[in-house]
């Protein structure tokens, strides 16, 4: 499993359908990952689309040294942090829109996290710090390696290891407290 690198190579060779495969494979995961940062579904949607648009415009920036998934998550994280920097005011949303957003998030969660147990864990990790949430999400839900997680979060593998260890420890405590088993 090359996480889209083979499909992207086909896309570079001129196969337009390969881009569809990439989107089917990675778009929702990216959007859900970005939502971990911005906590805004529409913003995450917009950032994800911008990220894929960058991939479309600057086709030669991806050098295949990392997986395409890692590359997209790196770009998505940077754009999400930029969004958070530019975000100055707290946006007030109408109640109707808030309900719609919540339903979209649930739909996205259902798309990304198919496993019921993972959904339970997903509910528990919201009580962790943001870094722990990101690390758990990439490791547990996206099945990324320590090296890939380190690359996305711009940390070394040892730091990722420590982060995941603490995150699991706290999750265990949370889940045990809630009476759930990991």
């Amino acid at each position: 499993m090359d996480n889209g690198a083979c499909s992207y190579r086909r896309f570079l060779d001129g196969d337009e359908s390969a881009f569809d495969d990439i989107m089917n494979e990675l778009f929702h995961s990216l959007m859900y990952f970005i939502n971990r940062y911005v906590h805004d579904f529409h913003a995450a949607e917009d950032i994800a689309m911008d990220t894929f648009a960058d991939l479309l415009v600057h086709r030669n920036r991806y050098n295949f040294k990392v997986t395409l998934k890692t590359y997209l998550f790196m770009m998505g994280r940077s754009r999400a942090l930029d969004y958070l920097k530019r975000k100055r005011t707290i946006s007030f949303v109408e109640l109707n829109e808030a309900i719609a957003v919540e339903s979209d998030e649930k739909t996205l969660e259902e798309i990304v996290i198919t496993d019921e147990r993972k959904r339970i864990v997903n509910g528990a990790i919201t009580k962790l710090t943001e870094e722990m949430q990101i690390a758990i999400h990439m490791f547990y839900f996206e099945n990324m390696t320590y090296a890939e997680i380190a690359r996305v979060m711009k940390k070394n593998e040892k730091q990722v290891d420590n982060l995941l260890y603490r995150a699991k420890k706290e999750l265990r405590a949370i889940l045990d407290k809630d009476g759930e088993l990991l």
Binding site: F19, D20, M23, N24, E45, L56, D104
Partner: protein, 297 residues
């Protein structure tokens, strides 16, 4: 939440917009940079040559040698090849008389009747006067040298003079033979005889002095002091000028031992003799001769 096709369409639309925006930005940059570059090139082409020319002028001025000070002086003062301007006898006599008239009208005791106040432009002939040719050296005290003025008083080849001076054991010098006698009053007079060949510049100087004197105006037997003023011991001055076959001798025997007189003509004569004596006695050959045995030499 939209489906993937909608997301794909939106992604492609955004990608196309970015590509278009980038092309527009590139065009704007090019449209601005090209005129700017052309302006810089034109300004450089206009300014840089002037800067280089200015630097070249400065370098050429720094490298200019004193020899290249101007050609108008070189023809007159290039004595290295013997190119000494000359005039014929008629012109020479006219100019010598003119110079004498000037000196008679305003005799200058400090200059002994000879106008040495005129400045000589030695800078124009500096390179030709150093070392190789003494005729144009700074010792020359004559009329101001201008490009239009030709020096009329170079010593002719057949010029010679002799002078006898002093009292008791007289001293003498004959430029024709070069015999210099310090005194005849000595136990061994031969020890006081040597040979002195004056340099061309010294010959010229003596020639100028004698021309200024105009010896022909003096009697053969002459006393420069009025009323035959005498002293003890007396002094003898016998000046002889030879130019070709022409010889003029001014004999002032047993005159007062003084180079100062109230008579202008006499003063000019005494000054001329004294200056010639100073040239002779300042030579190395004279200094190498032994000291006088007696008080009055």
């Amino acid at each position: 939440m939209r489906n993937l096709n909608e997301y794909k369409e939106e992604i492609f639309r955004r990608g196309q917009n970015r590509i278009t925006a980038r092309r527009v930005a590139v065009k704007r940059v090019v449209s601005f940079c090209i005129p700017l570059c052309l302006t810089l090139v034109v300004c450089s082409a206009a300014v840089l040559p002037q800067l280089f020319n200015r630097n070249d002028i400065q370098e050429s001025a720094e490298n200019a040698s004193p020899e290249s000070t101007g050609g108008k002086y070189d023809a007159y003062y290039d004595c290295s090849n013997g190119n000494i301007p000359t005039i014929d006898d008629e012109n020479r006599s006219e100019e010598v008389n003119d110079s004498l008239d000037e000196s008679k009208d305003s005799p200058d005791e400090s200059n002994d009747g000879y106008d040495c106040s005129a400045e000589v432009d030695y800078e124009a002939s500096a390179d030709t006067s150093e070392g190789e040719n003494d005729e144009c050296g700074p010792d020359d005290c004559g009329p101001e040298h201008t490009p239009e003025y030709v020096d009329p008083l170079p010593a002719p080849d057949d010029f010679a003079f002799s002078l006898v001076w002093n009292c008791y054991g007289v001293s003498s010098y004959d430029s024709a033979t070069g015999v210099l006698v310090k005194t005849t009053d000595a136990s061994n007079p031969e020890d006081y005889v040597t040979t002195l060949m004056l340099s061309p510049s010294e010959i010229t100087t003596v020639y100028k002095l004698l021309n200024n004197l105009n010896a022909n105006e003096y009697p053969d037997i002459y006393s420069p002091h009025p009323d035959n003023f005498m002293s003890d011991p007396p002094m003898t001055l016998i000046l002889t000028v030879n130019i070709g076959e022409t010889t003029k001798t001014i004999s002032a025997k047993d005159i007062a031992y003084s180079f100062t007189t109230s008579d202008p003509d006499g003063q000019r004569f005494l000054t001329t003799c004294r200056q010639i004596i100073e040239i002779l006695t300042s030579s190395e050959e004279w200094k190498e001769l032994p000291e006088y045995e007696h008080l009055y030499a």
